[in-house]
């Protein structure tokens, strides 16, 4: 039974070109479907503008899908701002890249971790205080840091504090949007280990959004590669990172600099990712694709099951 499922979700924004331009629809997310089970992590990878953060916001119910449906625990996601949604939000939490921006600089760490408990009316004062102490212990923050303000903490400590706050309401789903991207390697490893430990102990489901493929491989049970609003390949991270089938995944995986000899031949793409407001016809990747054929410019490839069970959206990959 999946905890979160997205079915054919699209999110369309409207923008204008220039001051007097006509409104233009931008499909930030285009017809994506996936589900996440309790205790599992779905990693979403892709480059800027591929729609991975929008996907996270739709999963949290902060944004309503323009099309398609979001089910949480089998129940449709209520519209944002409604009492039903507020109640549900205690079970869904977000951790993003910038912990300082996510914290109130005037409040102590303890006050911030306690805030969601007050908002959702959990426990009385002394219970809440015990809970805060336990949460800080769980994320590995020393007790004396509880009375400090965000600017008195290091980047890693801040991200731990944000995580303690996200865990305060005992969420079933955590959307982690580039949670370790701003941290140095040695601190990044501390936070990643803590995230996987907490997930194991509490059975939290995670949507882990990142541009860093190595980090995604480390934490994910399943991975989805996005390009210009669509999932182009989805499945087992080991299979996808060892042998990507979609030409875009191939380029992305081969672009990761690694010490020592590389296993996949380097594919350097030409050009920049296209503007989502100016989507190429057919497969959105075809203008940059090294192996594109005529059909790629004409029709959008469906996400189909390939031989080993993963899903791939490419005309040139044989279906199972």
């Amino acid at each position: 039974m999946s905890l979160l499922s997205l079915d054919g979700v699209s999110r369309v924004y409207s923008t204008r070109r220039g001051l007097f331009g006509r409104p233009m629809p931008v499909r930030a997310v285009d017809h994506i479907s996936f589900s996440v089970a309790p205790g599992r992590t779905l990693g979403i990878v892709g480059e800027s503008g591929c729609g991975k953060s929008t996907t996270g916001r739709v999963a949290l119910g902060i944004e309503r899908p323009s099309d398609g449906g979001v089910l949480f625990n089998g129940v449709p996601m209520p519209p944002p701002g409604t009492p039903a949604w507020r109640k549900m939000r205690a079970r869904l939490q977000l951790v993003n890249q910038d912990p300082l921006g996510a914290m109130d600089r005037r409040l102590t760490v303890a006050a911030q971790v306690e805030e969601p408990l007050e908002i959702h009316g959990i426990g009385d004062r002394s219970e809440r205080r015990d809970r805060v102490a336990a949460l800080l212990r769980d994320v590995g923050l020393r007790a004396d840091l509880a009375q400090r303000h965000p600017h008195e903490l290091s980047g890693g400590q801040r991200q731990r504090a944000v995580l303690a706050r996200a865990l305060a309401t005992d969420p079933a789903l955590l959307v982690a949007d580039e949670p370790v991207s701003a941290l140095d390697v040695s601190i990044q490893a501390q936070v990643i280990n803590m995230l996987t430990d907490l997930q194991e102990a509490r059975g939290i489901a995670m949507l882990f959004i990142s541009h860093d493929l190595k980090v995604v491989r480390q934490v994910s049970h399943e991975v989805a590669v996005m390009y210009l609003g669509r999932i182009v390949e989805q499945g087992d991270p080991e299979a996808i990172f060892a042998d990507p089938l979609h030409p875009y995944s191939r380029a992305l995986v081969s672009a990761i600099p690694v010490p020592g000899p590389r296993r996949i031949e380097r594919v350097v793409l030409t050009g920049d990712p296209p503007n989502p407001a100016d989507r190429p016809s057919g497969c959105a990747f075809h203008p940059r694709c090294p192996v594109a054929v005529a059909a790629c410019a004409a029709t959008v490839p469906d996400l189909r099951e390939a031989a080993d069970g993963r899903l791939v959206a490419c005309h040139l990959v044989d279906a199972a």
Binding site: E47, V185, S186, I187, Q190, R217, E238, P257, D272
Partner: protein, 323 residues
């Protein structure tokens, strides 16, 4: 090593009395590619900002930085103006903020040509086009007339590189040149830097927090920690046989792209604050091999192989050699 192009000796920098750089010795040979890696605040950028006289007056800089026979630290501003962008060029992480937003990109590159090579008018315009072609900006004839905000991050970085090449530098210092870029664009820019280095024969100093980037681009790597170089080795050797406990820790903390998944080995604690520097080895408080002797004095470099040295008193001990 052949006569070095740049030779840095005992370079120290402090801000308001707090040490940021605590004695750097580094040579860069003509045409070679050297990587400087380390985490935020380790001094990898400060080293080159200090060398080029780009630090604010609040910084106290001592030591020596020689470019050939010219001492840079005491050099008058006019000499530095000639060297910066001329013999040594620098590019940074965020090209959009390094470019002037209200000037066309072609004009900005032409300005560098005028300052460093005395080119004007049609000669300069032709050279700008050639440089744009060289750094792989498509449709150069039209692109020279647009503004930075009309270009993507990757294209802006290409403009910065064209500007850096304008002075025909002997050394390009690239400070996190691809950190703000997407993975596929990063691959393009790294390819470009590699090709340009071969074409022009300039030396390259690549400053990065990304060990993978440095491994791919550089023949030699220096690992920095808390204002000092702690290990120096040819890059293949460094990644195959790291010897300093900090380098070993960094590599173990990095998730792999292939092979069996393992739990990451995090380095406990954090980097020391400048006002709270340990008396001896700065890494000792986080190091599992540390002993009382580590706190006694700052460790000197111990040679551990050809061109390979590490600043650790335990580097020859059995535990570390096995690791």
């Amino acid at each position: 090593m052949a006569t070095p192009l740049v030779s840095i000796r005992d370079l120290r920098v402090s801000f308001h009395g707090l040490p940021a750089l605590r004695g750097i010795d580094l040579d860069v040979a003509p045409g070679e590619a050297v990587g400087l890696v380390g985490e935020s605040g380790c001094g990898k950028s400060v080293t080159w900002l200090a060398a080029l006289g780009l630090l604010p007056p609040t910084a106290t800089v001592t030591g020596s930085v020689r470019l050939g026979s010219q001492e840079l630290l005491a050099a008058p501003p006019a000499v530095l103006d000639h060297i910066r962008g001329g013999r040594i060029a620098m590019i940074f992480q965020d090209p959009a903020s390094a470019l002037n937003p209200v000037k066309r990109v072609g004009v900005q590159v032409a300005e560098a040509l005028r300052l460093h090579r005395g080119m004007q008018g049609a000669t300069a315009a032709a050279e700008v086009l050639r440089l744009f072609d060289q750094v792989g900006i498509p449709d150069a004839k039209r692109r020279v007339h647009i503004y930075p905000h009309e270009m993507s991050g990757g294209q802006n970085q290409r403009v910065m590189i064209a500007m850096a090449l304008a002075g025909q530098p002997e050394l390009l210092v690239a400070d996190e040149p691809t950190t703000a870029l997407d993975a596929t664009i990063q691959a393009q820019i790294l390819d470009l830097l590699r090709r340009l280095q071969q074409e022009t024969g300039m030396a390259l100093v690549l400053i990065s927090h990304d060990l993978g980037v440095v491994a791919e681009m550089c023949r030699r790597v220096c690992v920095m920690y808390a204002g000092r170089i702690v290990e120096e080795a040819p890059s293949d050797e460094l990644f195959a046989h790291p010897r300093h406990p900090y380098t070993c820790g960094l590599l173990a903390a990095l998730p792999d792209m292939v092979g069996p998944k393992r739990r990451l080995e995090a380095i406990p604690g954090g980097v020391p604050e400048p006002w709270n520097m340990p008396p001896g080895c700065a890494f000792a408080p986080r190091c599992r091999h540390s002993t009382a002797a580590c706190d006694a004095a700052m460790p000197g470099f111990v040679p551990v192989g050809p061109e390979h040295a590490a600043a650790c008193i335990h580097v020859q001990s059995a535990a570390l050699v096995a690791a």
